[in-house]
Symmetry: C2
Subunit: 324 residues, 2 copies
């Protein structure tokens, strides 16, 4: 019998739902607009209906064994989405329990960066690694830690919030309420803020002077840098320097084999990797120098969030098997 | 039959060796001066002889089941002391293998702060906790992380070097070769440096102006602060502020239930705990506020290093039992 898992990635705008086999092949995929539903139960029902429809048309002998969900503010221990800032439904949303009741199979929920880390371990470049970190560079900066082959959840289920370590206590305002958090510098939004800071501070001409803040995106900054735009190049150096300095701090905490960069900003290649590696090495405690790899994620595509979420189920059953 | 373990704490000056029962009672203890031996094999033979003598006079039915060793630069994976800066024997010292060959029982070696963390879990205030951190405040600042009930060793066996996170990249010179490392501010040596900095910067009279750097110690600074000395009080505020700020960074990495402070500086009680807690909370990402306890170690006495080292053996056998 062929076993399948469901991977659901809940984003503020869109929800991606996929059915995935053990090899990481997405055999079915659909999108559900997250913002279309005023009430959470209606949103849940839309996901459940999509799954029921699919379940009834699976090939002979195929079976869905579990549901994995990645969501901002997802808590692994409770299976709840807790006080999400990117969703319109407030408070505690007991999503894992609702899926388990509806389908009578395990549902594993965690935050999206943790899902990305498990995805990297099951399908990506971290296969065979036991100690690594995944940094997701999107609107914000998320992180997932795997230590000794196990996803680090922490006591309250909220480990791995590197985006809210401090770069400058009197620096840029952050959504979390603090100032100078790492994600205000290193993320799609962070590098935009850096473009505007550099345009404000300096006199150099730049093609980025013609683009409004609202219209600017990482791809434009990357392409400008590739064309030699001096401000865009300086932005990547600035961003990589801060990321490298902070990763040097993180390395001495958990001593990973590798750190994977995932998401839009990481697609800029050498533009972001070179300064990050250089400044991490320069700031590392000597005992760690030359030992920790900074690598691109092995899941750099549209289906990565689905794979990450679905991998939670495989990981759950693998661990259960080992414990036997 | 009563089972016993050996705990050995290797310090730069003194080596403490003890035989410990499961309840944490030290049934025998002796000291071996680390500096008395020019050659490492002679030092090893002195420890082995002490153990053999003791082994032959154990009560009927008692048996030593393993040896735990805590040492700076001890690597859990290799069982070696690697390039220790506080010992006269250079290079790689394969201590665990030597003990195992000599006594035919398991020898578990790790760095002294990791041993303290396992000791806290087996005998101290972390009993029953699965996610916590121990910070050892001695000549330097060491740290041991327990995540999900397991000591975090990392990929290269050197996880938990919080003493070498950065407070100020252009700050105080550190033994590791960098500048501004946390342990240059927060440790017995760090607070002495702070006394001298504040005496240099300010005009206030202080009883500490009469003491040379070489003669000054944490106890004197603590007692001066307890008598209301304005400079000594400012030193604790300064030290606690830096420790609290940095612990706020550490918390968002591994999300612990508690952080234990161990060693001389932690004996100053409220003088160090109050500013540390205040500044940790002020710098924490809001989702973590009010959730993480800062507590004194439950092993605040002379035999703590022996207990910490011996606990490695109990932990080793406990984990083996669970895996069965």
């Amino acid at each position: 019998m062929s076993e399948l898992t469901v991977g659901i990635d809940i984003g503020g705008t869109n929800t991606k739902l996929g059915i995935v086999d053990r090899g990481g092949k997405v055999v079915h995929q659909e999108n559900i607009p997250t913002t279309d539903y005023e009430e959470f139960p209606h949103y849940f029902e839309a996901m459940a209906m999509a799954l029921r429809n699919r379940q009834s048309s699976l090939p002979q002998g195929a079976k869905i064994i579990g549901i994995g969900v990645g969501a901002a503010n997802g808590n692994y221990y409770t299976g709840n989405i807790e006080h999400a800032t990117n969703l319109k439904w407030k408070g505690i949303l007991p999503l894992a329990k609702m899926f388990e009741k509806e389908f009578n199979i395990p549902c594993i929920l965690t935050n999206d960066a943790n899902a990305a880390a498990v995805g990297e371990m099951i399908y990506g470049h971290a296969r065979g690694m036991k100690d690594f970190i995944v940094i997701t560079l999107g609107t914000g900066l998320g992180s997932g830690f795997v230590c000794g082959g196990i996803l680090l959840n922490g006591h309250h289920g909220i480990a791995g919030e590197l985006g809210h370590t401090s770069v400058n206590p009197t620096g840029r305002f952050c959504n979390c309420g603090k100032r100078g958090c790492l994600e205000t510098y290193v993320s799609a939004t962070g590098i935009k803020r850096t473009v505007y800071k550099l345009l404000a501070d300096h006199l150099e001409s730049s093609e980025l002077r013609g683009i409004s803040f609202d219209n600017l995106n990482t791809k434009m900054i990357t392409e400008a840098a590739q064309r030699g735009d001096i401000v865009a190049l300086a932005c990547f150096e600035y961003t990589g320097r801060i990321l490298g300095m902070k990763l040097a701090e993180t390395v001495v905490h958990t001593d990973p084999e590798a750190i994977f960069l995932f998401g839009g900003l990481s697609l800029a290649g050498d533009l972001i990797f070179k300064p990050t590696i250089k400044h991490m090495e320069a700031n590392l405690m000597p005992a760690f120098r030359g030992k920790v790899k900074i690598l691109p994620s092995g899941l750099q595509n549209q289906i990565a969030p689905i794979l990450g979420a679905s991998s939670l189920v495989w990981d759950y059953f693998d661990k259960k098997e080992t414990a036997r």
